[in-house]
Amino acid sequence: MKRLLLATALALGFATSAQAQTVHILMETVPDTDYIKALLPEFKAETGIDVEIEAISYIDMHSKLVPQLTSPAGGYEAIVVDFYWVAEFTKAGWLMPLDDLIKRDNVDTSVYLPSLMNLVGKVNGTTYMLPFYNYSMGIIYRQDLLNDPKEQAAFKAKYGMDLKVPTTWDEYRKQVEFFSRDTDGDGKIDFFGTINQGQRGDCICMQWSNYLYANGGQYHDANWKATFNSDAGVKAINDFKDDIAKHGPTGAESFCFDEASAVFAQGKAYSFVTFNVLFAGFNDPANSQVVGKAGISANPGGGLNGGWGWAIPNSSQDKESAWKFIKWVESKETIKKRTLAGGAPTQAWVFDDPDVVAKRPEMGHLKTLVATAQEFPTFSYTVQMVEALGRELNLAVTGQKDPKEALDAAAEEFNKLAKKDGLQK
């Protein structure tokens, strides 16, 4: 019996000491998580620290993270933070400021693209995160059609302008109209100029933001008063509706990015405004009929910015090991390997790295896309605002509410939330 007790105590002792050398991270099931998982043995060999990544789908992440962050002894040594949650997490005091560690170890944070450092790095001058990957939005289109001399001639004849990577919203919409075609002569469009992601909630919010920016609209003024219920906002809704009705597949008002990208992957569409991280998937023969045919460019007027940051929660049980991991995962060597595998980096230099560009010719366009991306309003109630705006946009797009009325209703809720958060004076 004594021996058994001793053995148990020893086993427990080992278990706790082993725990101290394991970094647990909750991550989303996305390609960049897989790329990092594949590189983990290198980190183990270098430092002897185990990293356990628990990858789950996005919708469960927030509700799984919060109890761990509020507990005095959280289960995650390091976490990844979506830009949606930045204000909430920092305001609640869940994240550890990294400035002292950055200074102590001479970590160069100037390598990050400023658009991403602002989004998922610094909050009011304090660095809480190192930017991990970006999911900024842009236009994914069929390069083979764009470069087809026959199409180019027909486009020039019809619109009096060249068919090329679009730099203005008007130019892009002409292309969308041009490529919307009825190929089997049944009177209905079956090759689509664009595909909308109109599902109520964040799907429509994210995609519509690009329409808003492209029309010159903004979400709010310097005093956090809503401005998206402007003429530009109404025009953005009308463009969106127009695209669903005339240039897109049936049912796009209920699509999220997965349904939309399935249509594009089947070779049934010319383009769509979406997350740049989907691009790599279209070159995967297992899931795509358009391998090698897709191109990507920035949204005219700037697309919607999106990204994740690495952070150490205050509830972390082993902050030093977590920091070691973050330093390693954001080191030049690891970043380059991840980007070569297809990742979406946040450091500026890697977009111009000759080896990376040789393997991924779209890097130049991606850099512009990320650098010109615009920020969605991030504050403590971002998630709630997305819900309200998503509902109103979807009401307008499905013809149940007048666009201006819908935007006014969303603006009223936005103003209320901005006041509640102390942003609007």
Partner: protein, 298 residues
């Protein structure tokens, strides 16, 4: 034979003590996992409680209840929920009872059709919703492809405000109707045979037997089946969350998803708890009414 010497009273007392002993662990567990959270929810519903700063930041009385009705689209959500519950329970009952009556006459192949019937029920609702979302993809889904072969134009299953509600009802029926069938079938097969034989001797038609024997005898089973299904239907969440997110617009915005949004998007746990308590009261009232109705039949 000591037991033989016991008085009736002692036996009853012993039985009672034994009963308590047997149920105590279960009751304790129930107290812990049901009553505890329930009381906590009622407590939180009178609090200013935000996830941003977990904890009761002050007693607000019935403010959370009052403000629930002032929330945008809360009345719409209640209306949609009532419509949904009535639709799925009524249609599932009609289909379920018809199929159960038909199957009750079939004595062979029970071990074939039972598993087939049970199959949809065994699938997790999230999976059901995902599968149907793929089936119903307007451009790439198999449903529109098949009806296209028959010359029917593409249906906008989830994107049209008028259709989406019925699409979700249809998927729910597909998923849950076998629950009705199985329960009603169990009830039917337990009915005594004698009344039917007597009725046949008296020359009653099949229809007469159904209305005068089957229906009255089945009433308690029907009441329980409807009650259970009703409670489950009110709680429907997964289908909506995966398939429509309450859209298009507010066409499928069920109350459970409304509560989820208050809690996890609005971060307002006080508000969400208040709406949950309101929902609980409605369900309780329904249950009490059905229970009394059943007692009145007995």
């Amino acid at each position: 034979m000591a037991a033989a010497a016991l008085t009736t009273n002692e036996i009853i007392r012993r039985d009672r003590r034994f009963g308590w002993a047997m149920t105590a662990p279960g009751l304790a567990a129930l107290m812990l996992v049901v009553t505890g959270p329930l009381l906590l929810t009622i407590g939180v519903s009178t609090c200013d409680y935000s996830l941003l700063n977990p904890g009761c930041a002050g007693f607000v009385g019935i403010d959370n209840y009052r403000s629930a009705f002032e929330q945008a689209y809360f009345p719409e959500s209640i209306l949609v929920t009532v419509k949904f519950v009535v639709a799925v329970v009524a249609i599932e009952f009609l289909i379920g009872f018809t199929v159960a009556l038909m199957l009750n006459a079939v004595t062979r192949f029970k071990n074939i059709y039972y598993p087939i019937l049970l199959m949809p029920l065994l699938i997790n609702p999230v999976v059901v919703a995902q599968i149907w979302r793929m089936f119903l993809h307007p451009e790439l889904g198999i449903v529109n492809y098949l009806i296209g072969l028959a010359g029917v134009p593409k249906v906008n299953w989830l994107g049209d405000a008028g259709i989406a509600f019925w699409t979700v009802v249809m998927v729910d029926i597909w998923h849950q109707v076998s629950f009705m069938i199985i329960l009603l079938l169990a009830g039917l097969s337990a009915l005594p045979k004698e009344p039917y034989e007597a009725a046949r001797m008296d020359g009653a038609s099949t229809l007469q037997s159904f209305f005068h024997i089957t229906l009255p005898l089945m009433r308690p089973v029907i009441a329980v089946t409807l009650l259970i299904r009703l409670i489950f239907a009110i709680k429907t969440f997964d289908l909506i969350f995966i398939m429509t997110r309450g859209g298009p617009g507010t066409a499928t915005d069920l109350i459970s998803y409304f509560i989820y949004r208050s809690a996890f998007y609005g971060l307002d746990i006080g508000q969400a708890s208040a709406i949950s308590v309101i929902l609980l009261l409605v369900v309780l009232a329904l249950t009490a009414w059905l229970y009394r109705y059943m007692r009145s039949l007995a």
